[in-house]
Symmetry: C2
Subunit: 486 residues, 2 copies
């Protein structure tokens, strides 16, 4: 990890060269580097915490001057009970995941002695821009090295002393391993970001980890592909047939369990015939948690008649903007769903389900959207029709998370329409190459009048042990039944 | 397919709305639309060819004025024997491929009655910009509809009458099917491209199909992800242990079977000790085919002593630029590979293999590169070290092609580092969504002191019949041996 005064171009070129050396290291060598980083950071705890105190002092001063929020100051504190140990454990957790590279994911016999393979490999050089939390640097370094990628890291200025200490230690640790130190480059000044974003010939993927503003700025200023999401405007569509207790449980979790999360619900769409049946209990539960409800006219009228007078201050009239806003707060926009005229076919009407789907495809941020209903056919039509990275039936939008999906880790959540979508695990930091091994075959030999392609799909990994026909399935079925009976 | 005077914004919005209707159609409905398009274009052959004659007349005139090449005029001609029928057959070929969408590619049991699935789906709206050849519009329309994507199509101005006729017929055909006509939008004037490239909120992927200049212009002017390749600078690395006849066969195919192809070889890297053994026969064969050889000093000296005097005019001294040029012609740059000092570690030397890999990673366009050698260990080190979308051992770079890879069709060839790399089949026009079906589970129930995640991988499709443990493998093995013995 370099702490020199290198130019952005030098940083990117060094990372690129390093990335090619890293890409050919074995699983064992990459894992050994993570073990070494873990050990060095465990031993260097005092050094890091001393640096962290300097960041904290500066932050407290800035907070006292009103230039920084107290919640940000808290997030900077690496000395908080268990935080440093969690950071250390995270490195080992990533190390112990399955290696995402050098996996053969397809194999085709093109012709005798001519085999095509698709093999996963690292993307190359990542540019990762993140906000204050200092422990993120250890997590990101682990993810990058595990997946064989070099990374250029730019952290928030509030953690500069902590970053310096951590990167010094990581750099020392790497010098004892097969991973070149150039594979992790920390850049410290904010003004280099613009230059780095221009270097698309050396940097393959940019991952901004932070708020809406950071992501938008990055997207608008680079030709490098960007992985991430700007907004998390999630919707829940409540049908009248949903049981009241399930509606209350799911919507309260989606709004209140972590309102600042990108997967928190921001809009509740309610069928007209649920306004006076299911909605009042949902609203009551949310109001009890202190949630402000921004309602359209029909839902406001329905609720006003049903709720205690003391709840009324938290009931507001919604503005049009509320249906395009990520509140990140105890606030929820409510919209009534009625059949609407079709915008494309005159004299036809969209059903409530179609109206809700159209609203979501237009107003949500394509992150995570959910339907609450007992009807499987309605749910399946919703799942097919909604164009979002995660679409749920009868569960909370807060499920959208790499740990909850079972990935073991999370690189981020993507609302992109290519490469990786939804919670992104280590796989999202890989691509593949096509490999052909032959013995002198050439293209002109094949085709009309010449040799014919075999194009025979070959087994990959465990597929070798997949029953190939009904007879083999029957044999496997019988064996399984015999084992069960034993 | 609209032929109105809609603005770029209206075109993109209509395509987006259409795309959501198309995305939920069944395989049968999408295939029926392709059948209808095929039938209509077969019946409308006279109408299309009459329009094509108008394009040809204008092109002949432009060629006579020196404004257009004769080879371009030839490519415009849809009346050439078999060309129209090939175009029609191409539509049916795409129709009959496996449906790339609605495939479940992963399934996890998160908890009892809480299942996560990854399901393939269309990307959304494609913007496809292509050059003159008029039959491409039918091929692209078929690829887009088969994969459930709407497409905005912009063809070269030389084929305008042919495009209009084909799109009129496709539009009429679609009006009898479940696919909304808005899903295929033809734009006719060049000046709208710039506006369309700004509409990244409606257009999800841009595919420029044409030369280097088109691709670069598109990449430099849009925030929409671009799928494709600007250059095809492919390299072959010839080791001294390669048999002479194999070297001749592979290199002649790679250079001469279609020099204008992006997968034709442009650079031959030759180990020093192959200069006087393998290279002369290769050079003789290439010179006989009329290939100009741009040689560095050592290869030029080696060849001058060995070749007939009459070949000498085709031997040239290479310039530095030759090693960064896509010739697309009967021209090949030759470079001698010797050990070189390492740029990163002082007092160490790169081996010839490392030197060749470094040259390729710096000078090739990451499209397709090849090594010719009898040594498996050298070949595997080359395959691991070269950062290109296709890497070959002992076969021609011309193998890089979707048909040859067995995809049945080709969307294009990508040198991107994310999403799709190498020859791109229909899968490259898809992404996935994550679907969870639950019965009211919420995030706050899980974790410390609460419910535990199961995270059990469930079988997908044929995986159900994969032997799950060594006992089942043994049973399957025995059954297979028994069948063989029968």
């Amino acid at each position: 990890m370099s702490l020199t005064n290198a130019t952005p171009l030098e940083v990117a070129q060094a990372a690129r060269l390093g990335s090619r050396k890293l890409a050919v290291l074995s699983t064992k060598e990459r894992n050994a580097a993570l073990t070494a980083i873990h050990k060095a950071l465990a031993e260097g705890k005092d050094e890091v915490l001393a640096a962290n105190v300097k960041d904290l002092e500066a932050a407290e001063k800035a907070a006292a001057d009103g230039k920084l929020s107290q919640s940000l100051v808290k997030r900077l504190d690496l000395g908080k009970k268990g935080k440093y140990e969690d950071m250390l454990q995270g490195i080992l957790d990533v190390r112990d995941l399955e290696d995402p590279i050098n996996k053969i994911t397809a194999r085709t016999l093109l012709d005798t002695d001519l085999t095509l393979e698709r093999v996963t490999c690292p993307i190359g050089v990542l540019l990762i821009i993140f906000e204050a939390r200092p422990e993120v640097i250890a997590n990101i370094s682990a993810l990058a090295l595990k997946s064989g990628n070099a990374a250029i890291l730019k952290g928030g200025k509030e953690s500069v002393f902590s970053f310096q200490a951590i990167s010094r230690i990581i750099s020392r640790a790497l010098s004892t391993t097969a991973v070149p130190s150039d594979c992790l480059q920390l850049v410290e000044t904010h003004d280099v970001i613009k230059d780095l974003l221009m270097l698309d010939q050396y940097i393959d993927l940019c991952i901004p980890r932070g708020g809406n503003k950071l992501v938008r700025t990055v997207k608008d200023n680079t030709a490098i592909p960007v992985l991430g999401h700007a907004d998390g405007i999630c919707c829940i569509y409540l049908r009248a047939d949903c049981a009241v207790d399930m509606a209350v449980k799911v919507i309260v979790d989606a709004k209140c369990s972590y309102p600042a999360g990108c997967n928190a619900v921001e809009q509740l769409l309610v069928d007209e015939d649920a306004l006076s049946t299911v909605l009042p209990a949902v609203a009551t539960a949310l109001l009890e948690k202190g949630v402000t409800l921004c309602c359209d006219e029909p839902s406001l009228s329905a609720l006003k008649g049903k709720l205690d007078q003391h709840s009324i201050p938290l009931l507001q009239e919604a503005t049009e903007e509320d249906y395009s806003t990520e509140f990140l707060d105890l606030k929820l926009a409510i919209k009534t769903i009625r059949p609407t005229p079709s915008s494309t076919s005159p004299n036809t009407e969209l059903s409530p389900l179609e109206t809700a789907i159209t609203h979501i495809n237009t107003h949500s941020s394509h992150h995570t959207d959910c339907i609450l209903t007992t009807s499987a056919s309605t749910a399946e039509a919703f799942i097919a029709g909604v164009d979002s990275s995660s679409v749920y039936w009868n569960t909370s939008t807060r499920m959208a998370d790499g740990q909850r999906y079972g990935f073991g880790t999370e690189v981020g959540i993507s609302t992109n329409k290519i490469h990786s979508r939804g919670p992104v695990g280590l796989d999202g930091l890989t691509i593949y190459k096509w490999v052909i091994r032959g013995n002198g075959q050439v293209s002109a030999e094949y085709g009309a009048g010449g040799k014919q392609w075999k194009h025979e799909k070959l087994a990959v990994g465990d597929e070798e042990w997949t029953a190939r026909n009904e007879e083999e399935r029957e044999a496997l079925r019988k064996f399984r039944e015999g084992k069960k009976a034993e």
